[in-house]
Amino acid sequence: MRHSLVIHLTWLILPVALNVQAHFQELIPSKDIATDPNDPELTLDLTFTHPMERGPAMPMGEPVQFGVLGPGGREDLRESLTQRLQDGQPAYRARYRLKEPGDYIFYLEPAPYWESGEGRMIVHDTKVVVDGFGGGESWDAEVGFPVEIIPLTRPYGLWTGNLFQGLVKYKGQPVPFATVEVEWRNDGSVTPPADAFVTQVIKTDAHGVFAYAMPRAGWWGFAALVEADQPMKNPEGKEVPGELGGLIWVYTRDMK
């Protein structure tokens, strides 16, 4: 009896243990391209989760920064955040009204997350670009994250199969051979045949540039990961290594 209980517990814990690697901070707008001036409202969902495995979500602390870099300049949007629950864990939602045509770069610096399984702190600075009524050419503007992906491909209006290219910067300098993790935000239609398909891994070249062809329609997350050069403090006040991520989300559509 006790033996089978142990086996059951092992089965319960095993998938959690396998999930450890692919944390992704999501910042998903209700639309990537706004076309109708009579419908300028957006909803943004902020979730710290495993996109390909559809969860489980991890608790988000109160974001350090949340705002938009738009045609009207930089705007702090922390006031617009409302807390919600995702898989029983705190996550956030925000509403925003596009006020004029232009590119809107929404950005989020989440509260540092203590990953006890890996013994390190994780900060995933995340951004997503929304095309406001076809009025912008500043989609490659830099938010100013410590680690940031500068898109070399316009990050909206992408077909399925398009190649997405980006430049990874850490403290303003290109990072050669940096790891970039890629995940598709699973809608339930794909069961990854092996762990290697959950998170795809690419590296930047000697100039800090990466490229990835997106094979399916939907939201794609790119996470450039850099080991922090300074240790960070965990909740117990102990100095631990830090993982700094720079993420960007892009949306692809089938060509039909």
Binding site: P37, N38, T82, R84, L85, K99, P101, G134, G136
Partner: protein
């Protein structure tokens, strides 16, 4: 020599033409208080300053003709808050774009409510005056917006509580049934 010139001309034309093709005229207009404000621009955001804009009502009657500023911005003061408007922008070379606009107080910019002409709000002695009606609707919309957001957040929370409650019911009823079964042979 002539060939070279022709080749250069060709290259210049090839370089110039895609930019021209990509210049699709766009129109963006929203209501702010009792104003329609907007911008005419080409895809990519550059201003379409030399554009002519017509404001028409739902039946197509011409209400006004506007010329945007150098940044392509324009404004029009609405006569009544209830009509549907039609905006038509056109450039001399045949680019044309139209947008229908139904003034919706829910979308109005709250900042504009304060900026409204004081003489208009003062004329609100008659409670059915459209300007004050709109002001009331805007205030209401602004004040109920956080409430609606909180309701949405609450709905998510209620869902979790429902699930937990459901599990509780199942456990409770199973427990009761087991207790009943255990108890019966003794009695």
């Amino acid at each position: 020599m002539a060939y070279r010139r022709l080749a250069i001309l060709g290259i210049v034309l090839v370089l110039a033409s895609p930019a021209v093709l990509a210049h699709k005229l766009k129109l963006f207009a929203q209501t702010e208080g009792n104003w329609i404000r907007g911008r005419v621009y080409f895809v990519g955001g550059s201003a379409a300053a030399g554009t002519h804009i017509e404001v028409r009502d739902a039946e197509g009657r011409l209400l006004a003709e506007l010329t945007p500023d150098t940044e392509g911005r324009f404004g029009y003061r609405m006569q009544s808050a209830t009509t549907e408007y039609q905006l038509i922008a056109s450039t001399g070379d045949g680019h044309r774009v139209a947008q229908r606009l139904t003034p919706n107080p829910l979308l109005a910019d709250p900042a504009q409510t304060h900026a409204m002409d004081p003489s208009e709000t003062a004329s609100g002695a008659n409670p059915l005056d459209p300007a004050s009606l709109m002001l009331i609707e805007q205030t209401l919309a602004r004040q109920t917006q956080p409430l609606a957001e909180r309701l949405n957040a609450l709905e998510d929370r209620i869902l979790l509580q429902d699930i937990l409650g459901g599990i509780g019911y199942i456990l409770g009823l199973t427990g009761f049934a087991l207790w009943w079964r255990c108890r019966r042979p003794q009695s």
